[in-house]
Symmetry: C2
């Protein structure tokens, strides 16, 4: 089945009895075209079902009206159960829609994926690149920025700090949560920390450490990687090492959820015996048993702000080197 030959500017021009240039003007909304001619062109466009060839256009304009969102995670982990990526995507998408630009999503978990991203983005297929959640010190954002491509990251990049980024106030949010636990009389407050090769993991642990230390309390630390399974394991471990703990702050809601179940399985009541606080405020946090007290981060907003920053950057406007969004404590029943 051969693809029906789509009409070109030339054919529209012929049909409307004008030149290609004029058709182009009408199509691109130039106001310097006489009314009747505009009318004729529009009719021809409609009759022929003409649609501009984007490749040809961007070849000459050097713009593509689309921007890439790179998720440098293994594709398998990107859409697990936390709602970070979906939230980012929604935020980015919404803002892009307002700007009438197209979103190109790129999963770059594998080395091959990494290469593909590099090729695609440097190949002038996008007007800018958004990076979500970097692991370790990924050089790609810096490389692309060095090539002159507008780049914005979500989360403070661990590597060089020349790329603008948007992040939330991890430490502040955690601090507020831990302070709340202290205020409600808890004294043996443990934490299930996130992976220490990601800023979110590092900063949240730091926030916990600073706050308990400042209160003269001991730091009881277990480690997970934000997933439920890792949270359950860490909770069991914590229970082993500190059987007298009376509260736990988990660096993600998924880990907090697992902690809830693990604690119950171990015969502890929540919040009577042990208070639990999470981080994220994912949709199901309101549906755990008991409903989870947690630190909310405005994920969708991160996506929106990143996008606005990038669009301004791409438009040549100066942009702030970083934007930090606030977090806040959502009190439910687990603490």
């Amino acid at each position: 089945m051969t693809m029906a030959q789509r009409p070109t500017l030339e054919e529209v021009a012929r049909r409307a009895g004008v030149s290609r240039a004029t058709v182009s003007r009408v199509v691109n909304g130039s106001t310097t075209v006489a009314g009747p001619i505009q009318e004729a062109v529009r009719r021809a466009v409609a009759e022929l079902g003409y649609v501009p060839n984007l490749a040809a256009r961007s070849l000459v304009t050097h713009r593509t009206d689309s921007i890439a969102l790179v998720l440098p995670e293994a594709a398998t982990r990107v859409f697990s159960d936390d709602h970070f990526f979906p939230g980012i995507i929604r935020g980015v998408s919404r803002e892009l829609e307002a700007a009438d630009k197209q979103l190109v999503l790129m999963l770059a978990g594998s080395p091959a994926g990494h290469a593909r991203v590099r090729r695609y983005t440097t190949g002038r297929h996008v007007d800018g690149v958004l990076f979500a959640s970097l692991h370790g010190a990924d050089p790609l954002p810096g490389t692309l920025a060095g090539l002159g491509l507008p780049v914005v990251c979500s989360g403070r990049p661990l590597g060089d700090g020349s790329v603008p980024y948007v992040d939330v106030d991890h430490a502040g949010g955690v601090s507020r949560a831990v302070a709340y636990l202290i205020d409600s009389g808890r004294r043996r407050i443990a934490t299930i920390a996130g992976p220490q090769d990601m800023v979110a993991g590092i900063d949240r642990l730091a926030g916990y450490r600073d706050t308990v230390t400042a209160a003269g309390l001991p730091a009881l630390v277990g480690y997970g990687d934000f997933t439920r399974d890792s949270g359950a394991a860490a909770m069991r471990d914590l229970l082993d090492r500190y059987p007298d703990l009376d509260a736990v702050f988990a660096a993600s809601d998924l880990m907090a959820h697992a902690a809830l179940r693990t604690l119950r399985a171990a015969g502890r009541r929540v919040p009577e015996d042990v208070a639990v606080v999470g981080f994220d405020d994912i949709p199901s946090a309101a549906y755990t048993d008991p409903p989870l007290t947690t630190v909310r981060q405005p994920i969708l907003e991160i996506g929106r702000v990143m996008t606005r920053l990038l669009l301004r950057h791409a438009a040549g406007e100066p942009v702030e080197p970083s934007v930090i969004l606030p977090t806040d404590l959502v009190r439910r029943d687990s603490a």
Copy 2:
């Protein structure tokens, strides 16, 4: 800050002391180029950091090596809490990665989004289009297919049936679940159905109806829209109308989860008083209280199969008009 002028084929050719044509051959992996020359070209490419301009290339090849995945949902609903879209994205992404093609994600919830999708896809920016989860009888897939663009849908399209699609055996899965409830002695089996403008909602309800009817049991039907909140409301309503129900099949895990909580709040024990079965097998289904018995659908596989179908279609091979994937019952503790 001006964008560093990227080198073109021309400049690479000059540097390597050959013609553009030869550089093009090397870049595109033609074997008809002498070893030493190939070497020289590669060096020039590396030194200059040359990357082909994709727009120019696709202008002449008529290929873009990227395919669009259209999610015709309101962006707000796309990434709620069920894991359908993320799963599809992962499956598509994995298969595309293997084919070294680029994924372009398009959220087309609003009418404006719809128009943008049409413009973008017909603008030759992609080699094919994948549609996920259509609402009602969306004409877009048919339109694009009519234009000669390769198209594949996930879920049997409600409108015209000329577009190839991939779906799961909704009715069969539901039927097995309901039969299981009947076998375990349940006689007042209710259902929380999904939205009736989507095939998934329609087919699952049909599967329920057929099975209870065939067993001589009454159909006790409540309606939701796959979300948790709608499930809670439907469960309360069902409890009102049929206080003696002893089982409920929910057309989504999210609704099943809400039903679990609603039943408990109403003083019913699960599964002793009321058995609950869901549909989807989302990650958190194993973490509800009690863990949810549910019908698993191979979401990731849907994405993969769709993609393979599309790629074959785009390659000019004949493709089957539809592929139905199996579902199976995952027994946990709620039924």
